[in-house]
Amino acid sequence: MKNRLLITASLLCASLLAFTGANAKTLRLAYDADPVTLDIHEQLSGGTLQLSHMSFDPLIRWTQGLAFENRLATSYERLNDTTVRFNLRKGVKFHSGNEMTAADFKWTFDRLKVSPDFKGIFTNFSALNVIDDYTIDLVTTGPYPLVLHTATYIFPLDSKFYTGTDANGNDKGEIVKNGASFASTNLSGTGPYVVTSREQGVKIVFDRFKDYWDIDSKGNVDQIIFTPIKDEQTRVAALLSGDVDFIAPVSPNDFGQIKRSSKADLVTMPGTRIITFQLNQERRPEFQNVLVRQAIVNAVNNEAIVKKIMKGFGTTAAQMSPEGYLGYNPKLTPRFDLQEAKNLMKEAGYEDGFSVTMMAPNNRYVNDDKIAQAVAAMLSKINIKVDLQTMPKAQYWPLFDERAADIMMIGWHSDTEDSANFYEFLAMTPNSDTGMGAYNSGNYSSEFVDETTMMANMETDPDTRASMLQAVEERIYQEAGFIPLHWQNLAWAARKGVEIEWVVNAFNFPYLGDLVIKD
């Protein structure tokens, strides 16, 4: 009897030890919002991509230095102008236990092609052909330079898991944007973390996938507890009080507090989202005059905006492409020069100025309303009187669609991490048939920009393509097609010992599978 008790007791102790595990590491993570859905093809957003990199793996992924790194692909080669062949990793398992094969890629590709949000990225792709269980060919409709860029969006879904019908008789693989679906609440990927529980808007718990293929990864986090914290000050307080280990985004206003703290580290990185104003040439004949547009660009001291309003949390821009993109043209520099601006206005015959309306959101970009106020004040120096209205993004976008003001703010991040995406959406002549220029509220139009961008989208030689994109950038600069402000930086903060600086990147999807926690 006594013996039995002893054995039971020691067994209990042992299981308790195993359970708490001396090495078990938990990461308590707080972003401003949690993913809206578990279906990674339902909505193209930062949150979706963050989830994709936690619970799924792409064919290849970006490194911090903007190069490609193999994940589920072990190698790839271009077979001809329109085909790239990928060899797939063997022995990879999905969370459900199913083995990953080329069939899952085919299924995923077909689903991406019908996803309202993602199909745009895959327009130039005609097929994904299965060669054998571990070889696939990606085929494009013509020569296409961005096959690898796009391959970073191919995260295979577990086709067996998502095939069939759910309890309500609906197809498990269906993409539903305006309601619940099997895929929006169930998940099976190949990624490092399995979703074990989820209460939307409150908490998601991820456990490390036991059969994860990447055993070389140094990542040692066994569990992630993800709680969204919307208020930026509360988020910082939660980190500094030790209630969470890792937060993002961090507002520039809180940098000082984190830097002074002995408990936490701040990591910032130049981002790739460009913030701009567009001058509507349809509403205002004055803006059709290139001299007026140049005068306005000269009048806006965007360096001061970055320094004073953004507190250094941004990179002053003179073009759309950030450094590292093919189209980045080092010759183009910020050109604040008030005297020059005044001269240009005089030359254009608008020395006495005019009045315009301006709109900007007040909760979409970092300090968006303050930036708009500053720009309005700067324009008053060249006698352009600005009637500024700022509003929450929910109200802003319908007005943007209506082109409701003469000057409107827009920020843009290139989904393909390539310059051409900026031109397609912001600089090309608006055309409802082709969908180009969809966010060009200024109606800036240049035949050279239109044609060269389209040609660049068929040019597979990187050097030729770079010179084409840089020429486009230079043309837009000369013609002052828009007012460039800055690229918004990115910031994360973590408690000391959580080594986030190696896993964060300019795309803002940290590779948490590789995160190391020391102590």
Binding site: G179, G201, F425
Partner: protein
């Protein structure tokens, strides 16, 4: 009594009808929900399809007819964000808000009455002067500032209190998980409750004090003192009871206002209740959820007012409920 309740039920219906019409009229300025449901780069054609599938392209009258038809059957539509019936979402978030409001009310009642009575009886005592001065300051500090101050002092600097959320809650029944049955949960509700009560508490101290002062100078209190009753029975039995009448009326109205303050408190503390949910719904243009929330709050107001009137009737039998209703 029955007649009174019927009257109130009809009133509630009318109130909700008016609110629903109002919600539909302002719908356009609540923003475009497809912006929150889809990527920036989605094509216009796809966006139109999505709007069509949400029924947003129909004339307002058609949309309202569809909504009203469902609402009569108790269905207020599905939240775009939560992908669940809006009423279910509200019911899930309701316990967190009710518990917070309850904790704040508890603080208000247990602190304001003793302090109010004391400051009325001993107006020149240093503690009374201090209380009155502090209440002026308390009433003029916005709730979110109080909340952030609490977080900064007790969470960040001292490290005594958790900074956000509900912590480990204990599941009670249905959607109700409680903060009051575990230490962790209890610790999590303290600061939000203090922040939420911070506006109302000074108000109630002043209200109780003012009413008490008035009652103390009335004839019957003087008479009771004159005939030799001790201070205890006079203050607590005769005076306090009559002080409570107006306090309950004001309290009923203030509970409604407290709902508004939960929005601020909950968003600072990331408290997963109705107020925070509403704020997020507005940010995301989640129109069905916004409409359902406003209608629900309207309903709560009617119910609370009814309860207050009934309570009033119990304390003061002279009140004629039917005539009032």
């Amino acid at each position: 009594m029955f007649q009174f309740l019927i009257k109130r039920a009809i009133q509630a219906f009318v109130v909700m009808f008016i609110i629903s019409i109002f919600c539909f009229l302002v719908q356009d300025s609540l923003g475009d929900p497809t912006r929150e449901l889809a990527a920036m780069s989605m094509s216009d054609a796809e966006r139109e399809d999505l709007k069509e599938s949400l029924g947003l392209n129909d004339p307002l009258l058609v949309q309202y007819g569809r909504f009203a038809g469902r609402a009569l059957q108790g269905d207020l539509g599905n939240s775009y964000f939560f992908k669940e019936p809006a009423l279910t979402v509200i019911m899930k978030k309701l316990p967190a808000t009710l518990e917070l409001a309850f904790a704040a009310s508890f603080l208000i009642i247990t602190i304001s009455i003793p302090l109010g009575v004391f400051t009325a009886i001993r107006p020149r005592h240093w503690f009374s002067r201090f209380t009155m001065a502090a209440s002026v300051i308390g009433i003029s500090i916005p709730v979110f500032l109080t909340a952030l101050g609490l977080i900064f002092i007790f969470s960040v600097t001292l490290g005594w209190m958790p900074s956000f959320g509900r912590g480990e809650v204990v599941h009670i029944w249905g959607y109700w998980s409680s903060n009051f049955f575990s230490w962790d949960g209890f610790v999590h509700i303290i600061m939000p409750a203090i922040a939420l009560s911070s506006i109302m508490l000074p108000l109630f101290i002043r209200l109780v004090r003012a009413e008490m002062l008035e009652v103390l100078s009335s004839e019957y209190v003087k008479f009771a003192r004159a005939k030799g009753l001790g201070p205890g029975p006079v203050y607590l039995k005769h005076a306090l009871k009559n002080t409570m009448l107006p306090v309950i009326t004001v309290g009923g109205v203030q509970i409604g206002i407290m709902v508004a303050y939960t929005i601020l408190t909950e968003s600072v503390f990331q408290w997963p209740g109705m107020g925070f949910m509403f704020l997020e719904a507005v940010n995301r243009s989640d129109i069905p959820l916004i409409t359902a929330y406003i209608m629900f709050v309207g309903f709560v107001f009617v119910v609370v007012n009814t309860l207050v009137d009934m309570l009033y009737g119990m304390i003061n039998p002279m009140v004629d409920l039917v005539g009032k209703g």
